[in-house]
């Protein structure tokens, strides 16, 4: 996976112009949206105005090698739209990001072409109900093998990521800051967990701070990556609705979770339903929209070598027996096996602390 010099230069240009774009963007950021479709030269003149020459000079001094080194130092990887790893879905945008910077498992990015991804978005100041729904949707979709895309923001975004992680699934976070900059800071731990098992993605070069215009800009990436955008809770005229608007313009379905009609917090998401978004009452509705009503993909079996005790314990759980009673092995071995199986996602605890089998199949490695 590589990024070409031109695309890296474009990323550098975004870095140089970032503070000035903030001044240009309107609250609904349509300015930024159209802006990013402009070629480099025009972008320079539109944004920098009288100081265009200065910016141009800075850009000419740009050394792609330095940025590549910077990427490595920040423990990131980079790709660009001329690279095979770049997801085709992004090219449907009028203004696809030139370079993409990421940390985590790059297979998630290439995977969006074959396996569907769903973006779960919503308000930062969300109700408890919305957080619950987002987490359950995230978990349910992740368990079904769907990549869960969100923006790592407070509220609904964070809950969706947490749900995906708890389902041992694929979590993809698109940031409005550099991919090595956890934002918001209170989500540092969540950032680290996503980076460990999922993927953190950004079109901004390493170290870029969060800018106001960058959030609607990253929303377009989320909408383009996903096959469906689910709005869990949104006010009228909110950033979340921008994502839904982007989605409507792409080959991307829009779903919304119904909320109280008396609450301003859910007015935006309810409005989407009136305008024809798919009502989402559960994970099933999203899966129906992705695969057709009632059709479900088989979760890929886990390929893992289990020792005989692990196998025996798994069989006991499968049969509905208490593994500690059913197995003749010493308690410590059964406990170790249960710990392993739970980490692998093959068993889970029921509400009373007993063990039950998850839907994940297991094949010998």
């Amino acid at each position: 996976m590589t990024a070409c010099d031109d695309c890296l230069r474009r990323a550098q240009l975004l870095r140089i112009l970032a503070p000035r774009i903030a001044e240009l963007s309107t609250p609904r950021a349509r300015g930024a949206r159209m802006l990013l479709a402009l070629p480099d030269i025009e972008l320079v003149y539109t944004v920098a105005g009288s100081r265009a020459a200065e910016v141009q000079a800075q850009l000419e001094a740009f050394d792609p090698r330095a940025m590549r080194e910077e990427v490595v130092r920040a423990h990131l990887a980079a790709t660009c739209r001329h690279d095979a790893a770049y997801p085709e879905r992004l090219l449907q945008l009028p203004d696809p990001p030139a370079a993409l910077f990421m940390r985590g498992d790059p297979a998630l990015l290439t995977g969006v072409s074959e396996e569907p991804a769903v973006a779960i978005v919503g308000a930062r100041r969300a109700s408890t109900y919305a957080l619950e729904v987002a987490q359950e949707l995230g978990r349910g979709l992740a368990v079904s093998g769907v990549t869960v895309v969100s923006g790592l923001a407070l509220g609904v975004d964070g809950a969706a990521h947490r749900g995906a992680l708890s389902g041992n699934g694929r979590a993809l976070a698109v940031l409005g800051s550099g991919a090595d900059v956890p934002y918001p800071r209170s989500h540092r731990e969540l950032y680290a967990r996503v980076a460990r098992t999922g993927l953190i993605l950004s079109e901004l070069p390493p170290g870029a701070g969060a800018r106001r215009w960058a959030f609607p800009a990253r929303n377009r990436i989320m909408a383009a990556l996903a096959e469906m955008v689910v709005v869990v809770e949104a006010r009228e005229a909110s950033g979340t609705l921008i994502t839904a608007e982007f989605a409507a313009g792409l080959q991307c379905q829009v779903g919304a979770v119904p909320g109280r009609i008396t609450s301003a917090g859910t007015a935006g998401s309810n409005r989407l339903l009136v305008d024809g978004a798919k009502p989402i009452l559960g994970v099933g509705d999203v899966l129906d929209a992705l695969y057709g009503v009632g059709a479900r993909p088989e979760p890929p079996p886990l390929r893992v070598a289990l020792d005989p005790i692990g196998r025996a314990v798994l069989d006991a759980v499968e049969a509905g027996d208490s593994p500690l009673d059913a197995c003749v092995h010493p308690v410590k071995d059964v406990r170790a096996a249960l710990g392993r199986l739970e980490v692998l996602g093959l068993v889970r605890r029921d509400g009373l602390g007993g063990y039950e089998r998850t839907g994940l199949r297991c094949e010998p490695a």
Binding site: L324, A336, E342, R348, G353
Partner: protein, 504 residues
């Protein structure tokens, strides 16, 4: 004429020096005590008067003023009686003053002149030694425990008359001897072999005992949670002399000591209606709470979910730091609180076995939410108990006895002590983050295993360290120096009872 005597007042589980000054001069016969005395100290006047007269000593018919210095600290309790009487005797020339120069006196007087034992003799002896006193005179019942501290001559005196004889050099008390027969362990303590089945909980308690970890037992009523918990002290290693002394000192302050060295680890099981200050200590004159009384032993909280939230949350800091800081008004005290927490609760409000449980998910979640996340985070092992099956109950098989388990625990602790020599920690559970990094060695493969568990359970940094320490203990029980993948797996399985953690 003026005379002064040194004595000691209990403060937390320490003591501070108090000087009793008595001034006797011509005037109307009155007896005043100043220096922030409480009611018990003011009543000392009557006890001292009667004790003196009943000991055939003279009570001067003069103006008597006693001052307890420092005068800005509240004085409570009857332990100042003896020093007050001594200072009065000296001030009225009934005993020579120079004799008692580097000597401190502690004791409660009865009206007959006999001495009654006081609380906290160990702490007072330690305080007196630290303050540079060479001799401590205590009621004869306190002599043994006070002498445990060492480095100071302790003399046990039965009554006021003997004190006068002692000071005049006409009588010497018998030297204090350790009575070892008294505190030998009970012949038959509660044994693990009394509990049928529950091999999982037994294993969890063995690990907990081996590393000093906190443990929570979840199971329906009658599955043996309380029985198991009460048998835990029987598999803990005996306390070292220093630990025994700490235990004795605390129990002596609380007035529950036997009068000699306590050689058994304490087991405290407060009722769930206990107040926060009852649990962690407090009161206007702060006294140690249950967690301090359980120092170096076991604090067993049966029906953990029924304890008040405030009381449970108050436990968080002592569980992490091994000590309690109490601030009351102008004073702040730190009390030791390195106890093992053992909790027990039902899996759901109805408490019926799994197949008959009638609770819906909401009721269950609400019940489980009573234990907060931060509290659960401090519990290393959560184990599950099912009702014992009839076959197990009537089986005649001999089960493993506590003595055999204790041997393994002692061996595991032995290894830990050697490893942690020269640090503040005495067992794995007491290791702090840097110690954990140094002493939990594992291969890269095992580390990767740990990270996997970390990712799926989303545990906190504290939780991560706690799993490492638990895995360390499991390896110690096996006598291994390096931590294996199976140790990490087992530690994770006790750690993440997802039902409870998710609810919190």
């Amino acid at each position: 004429m003026l005379a002064s005597m040194a004595t000691f007042a209990i403060e937390g589980v320490d003591s501070r020096e108090v000087t009793v000054e008595v001034d006797v001069r011509q005037g109307l016969p009155v007896f005043n005590v100043v220096g922030l005395p409480d009611a018990a100290v003011r009543e000392a006047r009557e006890r001292v008067r009667a004790a003196l007269l009943n000991s055939e000593l003279e009570f001067p018919q003069k103006r008597i003023t006693a001052n307890l210095a420092p005068a800005d600290v509240r004085k409570a309790g009857p332990s100042f009686d003896l020093a007050l009487a001594g200072a009065l005797l000296a001030a009225s020339d009934q005993i020579p003053t120079n004799e008692l120069g580097r000597c401190a006196l502690v004791g409660e007087l009865s009206l007959s002149g006999a001495l009654r034992p006081v609380r906290g003799a160990v702490a007072m002896a330690a305080g007196a030694r630290a303050a540079g006193f060479e001799r401590l005179i205590v009621p004869v019942e306190n002599a043994l425990e006070a002498s445990l501290v060492g480095g100071i001559e302790v003399q046990g005196v039965p009554d006021l008359r003997s004190l006068v004889e002692l000071v005049n050099g006409r009588w010497t008390p018998e030297p204090v001897t350790e009575m070892s027969a008294v505190d030998a362990e009970p012949v038959r303590s509660l044994d693990f072999c009394d509990v049928r089945g529950q091999s999982d909980a037994k294993r969890a308690l063995e690990i907990a005992a081996a590393g000093g970890h906190n443990v929570l037992m979840v199971g329906p009523p009658g599955s043996g949670k309380t029985m198991l918990a009460r048998r835990l002290p029987g598999i803990l290693p005996p306390p070292s002399f220093d630990e025994a002394l700490e235990i004795t000192r605390i129990h002596s302050v609380a007035g529950i000591a036997s009068g000699s060295l306590i050689r058994q680890r304490p087991f405290r099981a407060p009722h769930h209606t206990i107040s926060p200050s009852g649990l962690i200590g407090g009161g206007s004159i702060p006294r140690p709470g249950e967690i301090t009384l359980a120092h170096r032993g076991v604090l067993f909280l049966d029906e953990l979910a029924e304890f008040s939230r405030v009381a449970l949350e108050a436990l968080r800091q002592p569980l992490e730091g091994g000590g309690v800081e109490i601030t009351r008004g102008q004073r702040s005290l730190s009390l030791p609180a390195a106890a093992m927490l053992v909790g027990a609760c039902n899996p759901c409000p109805c408490g019926k076995p799994r197949d008959n449980c009638a609770c819906d998910q909401v009721a269950r979640t609400r019940y489980q939410q009573r234990l907060s996340g931060p509290l659960l985070d401090r519990i290393d092992l959560i184990c599950q108990l099912e009702p014992a099956r009839p076959g197990e109950l009537i089986s005649a098989d001999a089960l493993e006895r506590s003595a055999a388990i204790r041997e393994r625990v002692v061996a595991a602790r032995e290894g830990q002590r050697a490893r942690l020599d020269g640090t503040t920690a005495t067992c794995n559970a007491e290791m702090d983050a840097p110690l954990t990094r140094v002493h939990v060695r594992m291969s890269a493969r095992v580390r990767a295993r740990m990270l996997e568990g970390h990712a799926t359970t989303g545990m906190s940094a504290r939780g991560h360290d706690r799993v490492l320490r638990l895995a360390r203990t499991i390896a110690d029980l096996d006598g291994r120096d390096s931590v294996r993948a199976s140790d990490v797996d087992e530690a994770l399985s006790y750690r993440m009872s997802s039902a409870w953690r998710a609810a919190a």
